[in-house]
């Protein structure tokens, strides 16, 4: 009998806004590779009657879709803003506010999975924790809570107390916790009072294939373009887009030929556009909006340097995506990715001066850029989802047997 995990998720490609969906997919595929049966329960913002449609997107995966307007990066304010555009009769059913939406999701999700017979329950981030806890109680099975991002990461340590409370409750109820980095594990220990013994770190994997450099491929025959420095991520406080602009202003003062691209969408966009004009960056700063995966790859490949200035980044898959495209990276020290990527610059997110200095050094010193891109991608061979899912598998076996 293969081990069966009942998993409560938030988002899943192709419907995803951020790294969580990508990580979930990677993990599920990795688990399938190890012959684990996965039933995945997802909120689904459909408008027709799609409740309880189970369809295998791949051989063994079973997906249960729960109609909901939940979005994994929600705060009560953002949820309220979004729900305004939904017809009132619909919003009443799926949640008038964030709390209600989670309640509806939980009720439906638990109800619809009662006839399953899982060996372990696994839930991802706070919105699914109550569903996970209740399913675990119902099935009398151990509970694993996976933490991809805490409320403290999203709000730069000024949390919504209610969400913070839901998270802590979920951690306390769990038999075991999987954190995506030591950075996140430390937050749980320090700010949520969780025992470190109960937390395992499983770094995110990456199925990004390392793009092999073809000589002459990146340097076109025509004169070298202006150097380009890239930001890619949701335009939210957590991701540090303002720090990116500050850094850009300093780089610009030194080297006016450098282009900056900010790729991604989010509620800070208009502020950021204003800010970049105030800093005099209007001619060298491009806001590219949300980009598709192939577009993102192209941007990484074109960039001479990728900067991830996150204020608090549990992992930061974008950093792995960038090194896969042979781009030197400068990472916030306040990130999980900086734990696994040894060959890059690591800077405190607030030290935008140092960030600018590293960018300028990478742009000036060709041997440095070459050294970084020849060494950094090696970690991708080790950090595959098959390997990372194997660690999750071991955690399952341990808690089932204990």
């Amino acid at each position: 009998m293969p081990l069966h995990t009942l998993m409560f998720g938030w988002e899943y490609p192709p419907r995803h806004l951020g790294g969580l969906g990508v990580a979930c997919q990677g993990l599920v595929r990795g688990l399938l590779h190890h012959n684990i049966k996965v039933t995945l329960v997802l909120p689904f913002p459909g408008t027709d009657d799609e409740v309880d449609i189970r369809f295998p997107t791949r051989d063994v995966i079973e997906t249960i879709r729960i109609k909901s307007f939940l979005n994994p990066y929600d705060s009560p304010e953002l949820y309220a803003r979004r729900i305004q555009h939904i017809p009132r009769e619909t919003s009443q059913i799926y949640g008038e506010d964030l709390g209600h939406a989670v309640y509806v999701y939980t009720e439906t999700a638990v109800e619809m999975t009662k006839d399953l017979n899982p060996d372990v329950i696994h839930c991802h981030d706070w919105m699914t924790y109550e569903a996970g806890v209740r399913a675990a109680q119902y099935h009398e099975r151990p509970l694993v809570t996976h933490i991809h991002a805490t409320e403290l990461d999203r709000t730069h340590f000024s949390p919504n107390e209610w969400i913070y409370g839901r998270e802590r409750w979920g951690f306390e109820q769990a038999d075991h916790i999987i954190a995506v980095s030591n950075y996140t594990k430390n937050i749980l220990v320090q700010h949520y009072g969780i025992s470190p013994d109960k937390i395992s770190v499983v770094h995110n994997g990456s199925d990004e294939a390392h793009a092999i450099h073809v000589m002459g491929d990146t340097v076109p025959a025509v004169a070298k373009k202006n150097p380009m420095v890239l930001f890619l991520g949701r335009l939210a406080l957590q991701k540090g887009p303002k720090q990116f602009l500050k850094m850009a202003a300093m780089v610009h003062a030194h080297r006016p030929d450098v282009q900056f691209v900010v790729a991604g969408d989010g509620h800070m966009l208009s502020d950021l556009v204003d800010e970049s004009c105030k800093l005099g960056l209007q001619d060298c700063m491009i806001f590219a909006g949300k980009v598709s995966t192939p577009e993102a790859r192209k941007l990484y490949a074109q960039a001479d340097c990728f900067v991830m200035p996150s204020l608090s980044e549990p992992f930061g898959l974008v950093a792995l995506e960038a090194i896969a495209q042979n781009t030197p990276v400068i990472l916030s020290k306040q990130s999980g990715a900086s734990e696994v990527i040894s060959h890059g610059f690591k800077v405190d997110f607030w030290d935008t001066e140092m960030m600018a200095d590293c960018v300028l050094t990478v742009l000036r010193e060709q041997p440095l850029a070459m050294q970084l891109i020849s060494e950094a991608p090696r970690v991708l061979q080790k950090l595959t989802w098959i390997n990372q899912a194997d660690q999750v598998h071991s955690i399952y076996k341990n808690i089932i047997n204990s």
């Binding site: 030194h254 040894s342 300028l360 050094t361 041997p367 050294q371």
Partner: protein
Amino acid sequence: MNPSICFYFQVHQPYRLRDIRITDIGKGDQPSYFDHEKNRSVFRKVAEKCYLPANRLMLELLNRHPSFSIAYSLSGVFLDQCREYGEDVLNSFRALAATGRVEFLAETYYHSLSSIRDTQEFCEQVSLHVHTIEDLFGQTPTVFRNTELIFNNELAQVARLMGFTGILAEGTDHILQGRSPNMPFEPPHFRLPREKESVIAKNRPLAKRSDKIAILLKNYRLSDDVAFRFSDKSWVGFPLKAETFTDWLTAGGGHSINLFMDYETFGEHQWEDTGIFEFLRSLPRMWEERGIRTATPSQVIAEWADRSKEVYDAHNVISWADTERDLSAWQGNQIQAAAFRAIYDLGPLVKATGNKELLNTWRKLQTSDHFYYMCTKYWNDGDVHKYFSPYDSPYEAYRRYSHALCDLKTRVQSKTKPKKHPLRP
């Protein structure tokens, strides 16, 4: 007859770089590239843990055992730091020198890699070092040890032409091919290119060239038993007692057992609480009881004198670093190669300015440690790096270094005397 024991300790501290920023470059009023606070604190820390207590112990041993002798190589930049941060340390070395049984070896003043790149510069740095040792300790070195025991056949000939009668090298297995490292060797005989010979003749530190040069090889197994394995609890030899170690020393036979190691082994790499000082303290008495002599490198060579020596044939460059024992610790990747190229390319321009301060700064940037900190060999996948570096990463080392070079370039350019226009015909 028992082999004699030849102790040589390397003493060196680099000038670590401060957090130079790109915005500092070309300002002209750059005070210094070096992190004086850091350098002072490291120096004082090592002085308290190693240099001072170890020198006290050595003096005690030299006073108590009239036949005990040892050798040091003190890098010039270490001596500079003594003058800046620790006259007490310098005085304790002077006290050792006054016993008459401490030999000082010659090396490049700046603990540099100049031997593999620039013969003229190499000769100048060795001369500077030899004269400094003469001034400080009243003796003229006759044995040469190159930075990190970097060695090949050519270097042995260069050292001979410089006037040295001996040179130290790592006793690597692939060159020894089963022979014991406990005998003096010699390099294969050949002539250097004439221009090179003439460069050396003009910049020789010693009065005349030497006819012969002996190679003393580090017995790396026995040296590393003390330097690296002494406190390793998983090591089969742990805990190492003076008696056992002496048994091992005599078991190998030969003319001399050459124990070459960093002086920081005592108290810094192996902390005092490992018992390293007590171990060292008990060795001379045990050797005296068993009739084992100590000898300095020049004594070892003199005692062998005219007896024939086997050839130690190092076609490729060897060193005592890492398991590879080659140049890869300083020349193994692109940033190291780029930094190395850039610093030496600047040489002619620096010398053309005739500015002593620029020359000194340029030379301090040649210290091998700068390149060592850029090594990425062991810098993998979140592993804790296995060597000591004052910087966060090899890339940070390169960032600071490349900024220093960029600034030095602008300073050199501003000090370069503009060439007069040649008169038109």
